[in-house]
């Protein structure tokens, strides 16, 4: 299982980083969210993986490492706060700068920010 877990963490990291390297705010936000999933799983697993070992005293035979869990909880909350801020900032940036490019300027030859989806049915 460890291998699969590590693979997923790596994949999430890769996907997250790729999206954070995009040029528009929304994909970047999504990327950062993916990245934070990867980070949380990674930090969580630094206490090693254990099944059926919830750290509720008296409920399990052996216990997982509770410390990383606590750390990840903190990390999740902080991550949430940061995401929230950056999301709203994205809106603000678009209203201030007129576009949603991370650099505040539409690169030459960029398609219209809101070109319509071709909806299949």
């Amino acid at each position: 299982m460890e291998a699969i877990f590590a693979f997923c963490v790596g994949l999430l990291t890769a996907c997250g980083l790729f999206l954070t390297l995009r040029g528009r705010t929304f994909p970047v936000v999504v990327g950062i969210t993916l990245l934070s999933y990867a980070v949380n799983l990674f930090l969580f697993s630094s206490g090693r993986l254990l099944i059926n070992g919830a750290t509720i005293l008296g409920q399990s035979e052996q216990y997982a490492d509770p410390l990383p869990q606590a750390l990840v909880l903190t990390a999740i909350v902080i991550g949430f706060a940061m995401t929230a801020f950056v999301v709203i900032l994205a809106i603000r940036a678009r209203s201030d700068l007129g576009n949603d490019h991370v650099d505040g300027r539409n690169p030459p030859g960029a398609g219209l920010p809101s070109d319509r989806l071709k909806e299949k049915n």
Partner: protein, 501 residues
């Protein structure tokens, strides 16, 4: 039970919180008073802590839990000094803001206090995850402060600043995972003792973690090539905020020092000083980029922002030289540069206000209403920051030059530091002559600067002559602090030892 060590964190937290609640939340006036009162209290407690730390390192076990299990605050000379420095800087910034900047948007005073809490926490904590938490506190506060006053530039700069720092925070957590996953502890003192005993495989993982931490701290410290966020962010921030930001890069450098020269210091076996070879070239490059930026700067704010880069590079040099003299110079220089750059940000704002359309750009403009006064302040600031005698800059610079030991070190360190100083001299003489003397038309429009603003700037600038006049005691303190800092938290080690059955 002495609580001094925790006060620099609690006082701002409490006052910031109270300012969100009635009755204080109602009027800006009440918030201003609260803010000033808490600053006075903080100055007081910081001074006491500073005094106590010279007698013995102040350890504070939060929740009364034995380290390494609980979070421990460590107020040794250095952290006490930095807390004091932060408070002084904040006092200057807040005083300045009272002239009206604090009313450009909501929550200014609360956010400023939160920022203080974060910075002080980062300086005081002895626990690496707690360090992360305080990093986030000071970051989120800075995000919020950066947009204070509004405007496109701020928004734009903020986007870059935040995204880069979010990636940085992610890396921080990766690194923490690697370190906890190998060392099994978060207490920095205990980490430092465990590194040497790691199995080969684990020690490589720990090394990876340590190096990743360098990226994180380097980003905060604006170490090249992670400095890109800084110039725009600092140049666009509103004056008091920018002044306050002068301390933020120092947090990164302080962390690099703690982690990469103490925790991963000489006791770390194979991992001793792993990061140093990386920092060497980057420190010098940071200096160079800063110098180039200073020469390229089209406006005073940008110039000062790049001065921050130069100071970051200089301090990194102080880190990598790995000797006491360097740390002494570094500490002295840190205090000097933080206060003077802070003052210059404030001054740049006044200048911009009095030059009308031209603001702080180096173009011909109408003469300033208070040219002589501002000119004098600018002159003092410029001489100080350029490291020209008789003001404080030269002492730190000379101490660092002396710290370079081998011929190679001298070659690199001296050339980069001295050339960057030359660049600063050129740029500042140019800036000064352009801003104050290259004028046309007559003084119109703007009203005089408010006395409180001048007081704030003077307060920060006074440090410069003081640091020279009392250079003897100052450097002696720095020496004591340096020697103490290079040891591996002896007091904490004993405390941990007591805890072990």
């Amino acid at each position: 039970m002495q609580h001094w060590a925790v006060l620099p964190i609690l006082i701002p937290l409490l006052s910031a919180t109270l300012m969100l609640l009635p009755p204080l939340a109602r009027t800006i006036r009440r918030q201003r008073i609260t803010s000033m009162i808490s600053l006075v209290l903080m100055l007081g407690s910081a001074l006491v802590l500073f005094h106590l730390s010279t007698e013995a390192t102040q350890l504070y076990q939060l929740g009364d839990w034995q380290p390494p299990f609980g979070i421990l605050l460590v107020a040794d000379r250095v952290s006490a000094l930095l807390v004091l420095l932060t408070t002084v800087l904040a006092t200057g910034a807040v005083l300045y803001s009272l002239a009206g900047d604090d009313n450009q948007g909501k929550y200014f005073h609360s956010l400023m206090m939160f920022q203080l809490m974060g910075v002080n926490g980062a300086f005081l904590t002895g626990d690496i995850f707690n360090l992360f938490v305080f990093f986030e506190v000071l970051l989120i506060a800075s995000y919020a402060l950066l947009i204070h006053g509004g405007g496109k530039q701020k928004t734009q700069a903020n986007v870059h600043y935040i995204v880069l720092n979010l990636i940085g925070s992610a890396f921080f957590l990766f690194a923490l995972g690697m370190l906890y996953g190998t060392l099994g502890t978060l207490n920095m003192a205990q980490m430092s003792t465990r590194i040497a005993d790691l199995s080969p495989g684990a020690s490589i993982l720990a090394e990876a973690g340590a190096l990743l931490l360098l990226v994180v701290f380097g980003l905060k410290a604006a170490m090249m090539p992670l400095h890109f966020w800084l110039p725009k962010a600092y140049a666009s921030a509103s004056a008091p905020v920018a002044a306050m930001f002068a301390i933020m890069t120092k947090v990164g450098i302080y962390s690099i020092f703690r982690v990469h020269t103490v925790v991963f210091g000489e006791h770390a076996g194979d991992l001793a000083y792993i990061a140093i070879p990386w920092i060497w070239p980057l420190a010098l490059l940071t200096l160079v980029i800063g110098a180039v930026g200073v020469l390229a700067a089209p406006s005073l704010r940008t110039l000062v922002a790049n001065l921050i880069l130069i100071s970051a590079g200089t301090l990194l040099v102080a880190v990598v030289l790995l000797n006491t003299q360097a740390v002494i110079g570094g500490l002295y220089y840190l205090v000097h540069t933080t206060l003077v750059t802070g003052a210059l940000f404030l001054l740049a704002d006044l200048i911009a206000q009095q030059r009308g359309q031209a603001t702080d750009r180096f173009v011909v403009s109408r003469p300033m209403k208070q040219a002589p006064l501002l000119g004098l302040l600018f002159f003092i600031g410029a001489v100080t920051v350029a490291g020209l005698p008789p003001l404080s800059g030269f002492v730190g610079k000379a101490l660092l030059l002396q710290a370079a030991e081998t011929a190679t070190q001298m070659g690199w360190v001296w050339s980069s530091i001295l050339l960057s100083s030359l660049a600063v001299i050129i740029a500042l003489s140019r800036a000064g002559t352009n801003l104050f003397w290259h004028v046309s038309g007559n003084k119109t429009g703007t009203e005089n600067a408010r006395p409180i603003q001048i007081i704030a700037i003077v307060l920060l600038l006074l440090a410069s002559p003081a640091l020279v006049i009392f250079g003897g005691p100052a450097t002696e303190f720095a020496e004591a602090a340096a020697l103490q800092m290079q040891q591996m938290y002896p007091e904490v080690q004993t405390l941990i030892a007591e805890g072990q059955p």
